[in-house]
Symmetry: C3
């Protein structure tokens, strides 16, 4: 797993310099690189397309941007970090005094050496982000500012990767791809999602797993608008071009690579199956972790859990957004993300998928009294012993609770037995014809 | 508010000497004085009228009563305190030895200087209440006893005051007016109800507020019998003379003026909206308070919460009945009630009415994904900031939970946001056409 | 009650030497002795009869069994204790070396002086159980082993005793009669069941009480198979020969006589009425006790609570199976069981039956406001007193909660009043025509 951790970290480092935004070539370049690991279906949705309550915006691209001081020296340079330009800045080419310039500058006075991350997607303006200490060192005088960006009709880009399962019902794993040079938020999520897809494809999972790499908010909204058949029949839109199963469960991956403890934020429902699975997996492991209630602020669980959809989608992070000082600053760089943390997040995701995939409901076909397990070779025939084996207890529990209403996770929780022992018992009983799915 | 406290206390002092009972001129005089503050609709219900399982009793009035000692000196005198006569005493005029007299005397040996309050509404008898130390000082000899009372066909008197609201559904505020010279029980409740009505009339509340000033038990039962259309269609009586909305919520005010902490006794349902509102208002305030479970003993919540009606009516007191030594004694006099406590009870009532009035359920008209708040000027258009404003969070929470099933109080409780922030958000969203009631 | 304790203990001592098993003459002899106390209906079910998923096995009987050492001395002798033979041993007559013999010997190395209890009902084999210290003292050499047993077509034997009630709905009291010389497990349960039946017959209980004395597992399964009309209409078997009411509640008695604290194991449902009654009775008493969750391991509650039946049957023990070192060993002898513990278990059973029998739901016939209790002589007519009598509170509570949905146990639990006060109030109100069952 450390191998996977190192590999995921290498992906984070490789993606780090790209200037991502909610549209544009930075997203495409990012998806190209992810596509080297996973085959991706890339979608391009034209500017102006109505998506739920929103409209796909113009596409933003940027070639160069800088502030040059009175001597002509570039004191703030987009080439050094994509964070230096306010996201979605309109183009500008002008000479301003330092005082005129200040209204367009964003700094973090409390962290004078860090560059903040700022955007203005829906109000046309331009601006630069820089370290407070850089700003403090600027002499008075005339400054040349130039942002060589374009805001024009184009497309919003997102991608999907599907790991086919034994059933068409889907588990949606989603991560946002719109943040520029920020490592934990969310190159870490992209990396974990990529490796999770690879791991799932090693077998044939029960559910079909759909991985969504999309810009935050508008990307999720666009995907929801185009996939009504997957997200609830109540959506008053015609069926989209895709067909497939409904989203039964889902997980948003964000801030997945810092060294902090794991945090699972529950779905709006709070008792969705994914909530129970994540609580169980985290509680059953020795990992320090935190379970938090749903709030309508955060990442794209906001969209998936909006009341019209109310999907069973939670969110897995390590330290959640705004919970660490480096959040949305240049200090959220690849050094802030560790291979060990990436590997640990991946491991929890794999464990959760394993439980989710195996968490089925059975019906006891011999529900009147206990079936004679000994006759079927399922039970030690030597009676009168005072020790009950875990495997036998698991069979008795599965038989007792397999009334169609209890899942194997219910059995594990009520019995206190490990989930694996319960699934092994269910397999044995199923093979013996004593329970049916 | 201290002004209101002083004014309410002055009303308590003015009403204190009157000899109230479940019928009679003392009740009428009390309602006359309350009527100087609020226009009252006074009802007179004839003796013998069947009311639910009961019958309106004969009317009791009293002019004079005393015990004169062997020297002719009045040692117990109704003129000094209305408590001295057993309520509903039949008339008597006799001379008895002290020993013969003792069977008709009520004292409090544990509080030898206090006079107890006793009644005998439904068993004809006569009696006097006096201080134990007065009794102890009486010499042997013949005593003249005289009670100049009448028990005759007449009426039961109660009054209503209505503050019209925007809807006809009603909030019933009830207080008992049958106790003679007892300040906390219940002149304090009468005073708070009177000032609450005045305060509500300063605006136009959402609900219609009905104030009921009635004798305990038989008064509430009479009102219930005469208002079947307000209290549940299951009542097997023809519709009464009044028309109007049903009682949606209610509060019984009793023992509302002592310096003890506030006590809210929940309705029989325990989860009625008034219960949740009172719990919320008391918890959100800094006031020490106590929430108690419903019991079928107490004041007129007993009648309103009887299983045939099962109304959402709770009871607000400070120290509840029988919870203080002065209860039902001459020590429950105007000194026992403070302007500060009266003002504090009034303030809590006003806060509760404000929450109740504003606690509505909305439906999100844009429930698929988040609506674009920025386009509507509802959301700061500058993204990427790590601080989320309370107002914005309140809007997101209202949108998230406005599925018809959650009230604004639900939103406040689940989000942890102040109720006022939630209502402001709901107002903004309603104005923007994003939610509907 | 100490008298009953001593008498129950005498029964335990008398039954102790008999060699019981799941079939055979030991069971018949046991039922003969129980039948001296209670008239029993004894059932004989032929070998080969299909019962649910099982088949009635061959009948096992044994006359003699021993191991003789090289000198011919019986070093292990069935005549000394029925535990010495592996239950259901096939017959054997052979001479073996000590090493050959060892594979057929069962000991308890941790308790070298105790003889274990072992059976092999469904795998044909033979064996002996002995003390480890006996085994250690055996010299090498040839040993004569002889088990003079028969395994042949015959019958499975169980018995019933019915205490008729006022209604045909039944309470099933079940105890297993298949364990040989073990006192707590389950001669104690047999003794308590026998005395409980006698105590119930002193009056006419509300429910019909059915006592079942049957071998564990196969006996309960046989009874269930033959009583489909009592245990749930879903059982896909034709109605059995008996007719009668359904099993409304039940209790399995096992390990009922050791000095440990009482343990009630809840039914699979967890909220069955028997669960609530047992919790209430144990909590209301001063007895130390423990309430445990259902598990599908234990005694015949396993069968009664299997998901097809899911009966409201719990299990009452003192120290539960496998919870004491003497369990399933020769140390579970009559000295391990005390008259005091037997009497205490019996007392709890009687209290539980009394509550169960009296725990009915009433409907208030005067639910609109309070009925006038004083007019009916049910309420002290002297008002204004600050003390409320328990009896009056109980009447008010019964009236308040008698809406068809609350039982008298609900009333007792919610009011905090003793169950007896609540039932007395219900009786008075029922007599006054204010409530109906």
């Amino acid at each position: 797993m450390t191998g996977a951790g190192e590999e995921m970290h290498a992906l984070v480092e490789r993606l780090y310099p790209l200037c991502r935004s909610i549209t544009g070539d930075g997203v495409r370049a990012t998806l190209d690189i992810v596509g080297e690991h996973l085959p991706l279906q890339v979608h391009e949705v034209p500017t102006g397309t109505p998506v739920l309550d929103w409209t796909v915006p113009q596409e933003w691209n940027i070639k160069d941007a800088y502030i040059a001081d009175p001597t002509g020296k570039r004191v703030v340079d987009f080439a050094a970090s994509s964070l230096h330009v306010l996201g979605y800045s309109v183009p500008v080419s002008a000479t301003l005094s330092l005082d005129e310039l200040r209204g367009h500058l964003h700094t973090l006075p409390d962290h004078p050496s860090w560059v903040p991350y700022r955007t203005s997607y829906y109000r046309p303006q331009w601006g630069f982000c820089l370290a407070q200490e850089t700003l403090d060192a600027l002499p008075d005088g005339d400054y040349e500012v130039r942002i060589d960006s374009t805001l024009a009709d184009g497309h919003l880009t997102y991608a999907e990767h599907v790991v086919p399962g034994q059933v068409t019902d889907e588990v949606l794993i989603s991560c946002h791809v719109c943040h520029p040079s920020l490592a934990n938020d969310n190159l870490a999520g992209i990396a974990v999602a990529t490796w999770l897809a690879g791991a799932l494809a090693e077998g044939t999972p029960w559910y079909t797993y759909r991985f969504l790499f999309a810009p935050g908010t508008i990307g999720a909204i666009t995907w929801l608008a185009r996939n009504p058949e997957r997200v609830g029949g109540a959506l008053p839109a015609p069926a989209g071009p895709e067909t497939g199963g409904r989203v039964a469960h889902g997980l948003v991956l964000a801030c997945a690579g810092d060294p902090g403890r794991l945090t699972y934020k529950q779905s709006r429902r709070g008792d969705a199956e994914i909530d129970r699975v994540m609580r169980y997996v985290l509680a059953a492991s020795d990992r320090p972790h935190r379970i938090t209630e749903f709030t309508p602020y955060g990442y794209d669980e906001r969209q998936f859990c909006s009341p019209g959809f109310d999907l069973g989608v939670g969110s897995l992070s390590r330290t959640p957004y705004a919970g660490y000082p480096e959040y949305h600053t240049s200090a959220d760089n690849p050094d802030f993300v560790t291979p060990e943390a990436l590997a640990d997040t991946l491991a929890v995701c794999r464990e959760a998928c394993a439980v989710l995939d195996r968490n089925r409901r059975y019906r006891n076909l011999s529900p009147y009294g206990e079936p004679q397990l000994g006759r079927r070779g399922l039970y030690d025939s030597l009676g009168g012993r005072s020790d009950a084996q875990q495997a036998q207890m698991a069979m008795l529990w599965v038989l007792s609770l397999s009334d169609g209403g209890h899942s194997l996770l219910d059995v594990a929780e009520r019995s206190g037995l490990p989930f694996d022992a319960v699934t092994a018992a269910a397999d044995a009983l199923h093979t013996a014809g004593l329970i049916t799915a």
